[in-house]
Symmetry: C5
Subunit: 97 residues, 5 copies
């Protein structure tokens, strides 16, 4: 998994029928030091993440292991909203700070 | 998934029999700010995308989860034509603008 | 899938038994504008491609979806020889030109 | 697999239910010469790794082949704590040195 | 698959039980022109490769298609020792030269 920030959303009407009712969010990848990187992914939201939330996303076949994404043409899923993380014992990010 | 623009198509006569009647499109990868990147993919079209359309594509085993691509030697599929997307509340792309 | 050019072949005697009788070709990756890139893959040939042919190859589990590669430890397969492709309506490559 | 160092951990309350009770560690990727690289992954810990341990992690569908991660939306798992490794007969890393 | 050179090995006592008795080798990735690249992988050896051997390795789910690696948390396997390869009809590498 990688850490990312929810920065937007995508709207699509003409899509594979299995994708109906799935929320597609734009996630900007962050480094483990919490710096934004020049990379993004569009991921299905399985945890009701909101704009600005720091999240974990999984890719590949693992992205189809949630109830919401099972057997769907989806290669990225947000499966956790991050509360906090630390590096070497130092807090790097704290959602409720 | 990543965002891309349909920029061309590929013709092949000698190919695996499972690929008969599949449309193969050249998709240029775009950043989430809608800038073209130096990367592309050739993807099976499952949503009748047209030249110039902004699309979402899925890769890996997830590319075989559409009815059209099931069990086929295909590692990329266009599974949505994008209507619009936004970043931080600002519209970045609008198909019908 | 990506576009590549067949530039060589690999010979191996000591290999997994499932790989017996598979032709292993060296494919140089090309850009969609048909420029050679600094990247390659060794792929199983499922379409009798020849030296110099422009081909499409699939990677990952999708590379095991041909009759030839089913259930084999192979992560790249050539599944199409390209006749031609175009970008923005302009022909980029034509096999029989 | 790649070699990495456990440098931190991630806490998440709102997550896919299948992820309950899994420890999520931040792993910094190292080169085979044991230099830290500018890359990381958040991986499920299946071997009770500790802060500072050098570990091996597997990604993709292979990350779901441990008892702990089976069928879960997890694309990276720590499946070994490294005792030592060598390059060209020279010891590069020794846990108990 | 990619071409690599066996440059070392990894020792681990605390690991997933499915990995018992598997040899873990450090493989440095080479270009198709046989130049070492700044990339490596730790792969399970399924063909009794030795230090200095040029090999082919497969990654992802394809790495679990050998008898040795079936259903194991392993994302890279050496499935062939290379005898020779050529580019454009010119020999690049010859094991027995």
């Amino acid at each position: 998994m990688l850490i990312g920030k929810v920065v937007g959303s995508v709207v699509s009407t003409r899509k594979d029928e299995k994708l109906e009712n799935l929320k597609l969010l734009v996630v900007q990848v962050h480094s483990h030091a919490n710096e934004p990187k020049d990379a993004y992914v569009v991921a299905v939201d399985s945890v009701q993440a909101g704009l600005g939330d720091m999240v974990l996303y999984a890719t590949g076949s693992s992205a189809r292991q949630t109830t919401l994404t099972d057997a769907k043409p989806c290669d990225a899923v947000i499966m956790a909203v991050i509360d906090s993380w630390d590096l070497g014992g130092e807090n790097v990010y704290e959602k409720w700070a």
